[in-house]
Symmetry: C2
Subunit: 326 residues, 2 copies
């Protein structure tokens, strides 16, 4: 834990002048209506539109600036852009393997940084196999979450939250963060817990993709059966990462799942109350917080809004759907 | 000028713990495509969804916390919300006079802070007359721009830009800011010029509402004939404010106008590249910057994106219109 904190602080120093220090946003009227204080860590405003730039950049920079290096990765989109961006920063080549179902905007965003994109099937195994081919030919795989440098990079989100909360003399009671493979969860929640020892961690997954919660309960990593569907294309990893899983064990988080309806509602509220464009995966933790607001009266909660790369057609559809809450 | 700078610094100290320090956002891929470095000062993320909270708060706080005070103002919406918010913060009463054409979201946002809203006609004179009635009955008028405390409050935008640019070791070549009555222009451009003596100031107005540019050229305040239409509901003031006009004289800015088409395009690019929800008025300065990009190759430009309170129906319509640029 202390070693991880050191790695997170090193990562912060390494990437500080390249990534943005995203704001901790607040809306007083919403706070009054909910009966609690909500602070939104807006990683949808981060370079590349999600927190993924942090981990990829830390990973790539720690390998030294190598213009002849070739970085490869597979991703449904946000890690793809983070990796393409990091390679662009050091002037290295990048190839990213993406599923055919990836949002158009994420594919375009990856190409915008000069990365080569290969579109494969939606089967995770296909991408992993193709990545192995590149690695065999000398490329460096940038893992999406299961690596200490990635976890430390994503952990800088939590380090910033701790500094920003301290500056405002806040003592967060809860920290809501999306789970997926666990890079962001493990890194950022560790940093928050390091600063605020009694802060409750809430790890959020889409309904039907609660592999992390089930693995945590079982004490070993379980794999989700494919079959369910979700709007949250960024939170579909079938299994927790090995390193994140072990770190998260020590954090004893609560777990929660959210439905597509809750996520849609959260996207709309983030539009109306914060003027943010948030993708479904990025709104999942906020959706969970909304569902727990009644039980948290008077509390201070920080929620990571992790990404905003949503296609315009989906975004406008989500905004126009009838709402249930607030 | 030095006196104004002092007032801006005092305002910053007064409002610091209440308003947000909004981020200076950047998108590397967009920078590469445009051939210049663009820094977006995202005031659409400010409390109340626009910079107007700063000036209103400074004005109200400088009058002392007076729970029995009654503040009154007239506004198409963003000053309305700023004023309602400021009164809410000190626990005072607020009444805001708004035109019938004000966006629904701005009316709702004003009411959310407990202010009383009176909807009048779209004629500016009607609102001014009704406000005078309230003042005669003891209410304190919070002027939208023509007051030193308002200008100093809006000036804190420029103070933050200067600090954020210095921290990144940037020397902005140009500062793009919307004009309207001139509170934001006068205050923020003064603070930026104070920090960067050679920074070009570009004051932006909607096509057909260039009263500030024409007044500046004529050397006296002119009034625009009603008649033109614009998407920029927040930039329709018929005449520059008296105090802003005199301050702006000393700044020798360039002026520019933008069409509804340019503004629509800017709203869409701010959505796609920055994940920001921006209202037309808030995108005007960014639209001007895009139109000047070819002549500014290699430059560093800061642009104030001043507000984000756009109705969902208009926003989705703007996003779906075919684009011309980038």
């Amino acid at each position: 834990m202390d070693r991880l904190q050191e790695r997170i602080e090193e990562a912060a120093t390494l990437i500080r002048d390249i990534v943005l220090r995203t704001p901790l946003l607040e809306n007083d009227a919403l706070n009054d209506e909910l009966g609690l204080r909500v602070l939104v860590k807006a990683e949808c405003l981060q370079k590349t539109g999600s927190f993924k730039a942090r981990g990829a950049l830390n990973f790539v920079l720690r390998r030294g600036e190598a213009p002849d290096a070739h970085f490869v990765g597979f991703s449904s989109g946000n890690h793809a852009q983070g990796l393409a961006y990091a390679a662009h920063i050091v002037g290295a080549r990048a190839t990213v393997l993406m599923p055919a179902s990836a949002p158009a905007r994420k594919i375009a965003g990856t190409r915008a940084f000069g990365a080569k994109v290969e579109i494969l099937t939606d089967f995770f195994a296909d991408r992993a196999r193709r990545a192995a081919d590149f690695v065999a030919a000398g490329a460096i795989l940038v893992p999406p979450f299961d690596h200490e440098d990635i976890i430390a990079g994503q952990g800088t989100v939590g380090l910033e939250v701790a500094a920003q909360a301290a500056r405002r003399k806040l003592q967060p009671d809860a920290f809501f963060v999306p789970a997926s493979g666990g890079g962001l969860l493990a890194g950022s929640a560790s940093a928050v817990r390091h600063a605020f020892a009694r802060c409750r961690i809430v790890a959020v997954e889409p309904h039907g993709f609660d592999d992390f919660a089930r693995s945590h309960a079982a004490g070993r990593r379980l794999t989700i059966e494919a079959g369910a569907s979700t709007l949250c294309d960024g939170l579909m990893s079938p299994q927790p990462g090995e390193i994140p899983f072990e770190i998260v064990k020590t954090l004893s988080p609560d777990f929660d799942t959210v439905t597509d309806g809750q996520v849609t509602n959260a996207v709309r509220i983030l539009f109306e109350r914060f003027n943010l464009v948030v993708e479904p995966s990025g709104a999942a933790a906020f959706a969970s917080l909304l569902s727990q607001a009644n039980a948290m009266q008077g509390a201070t909660a920080v929620v990571v809004v992790s990404g905003g790369n949503v296609d315009q057609s989906l975004f406008t559809r989500l905004l126009s759907e009838p709402s249930s809450h607030i």
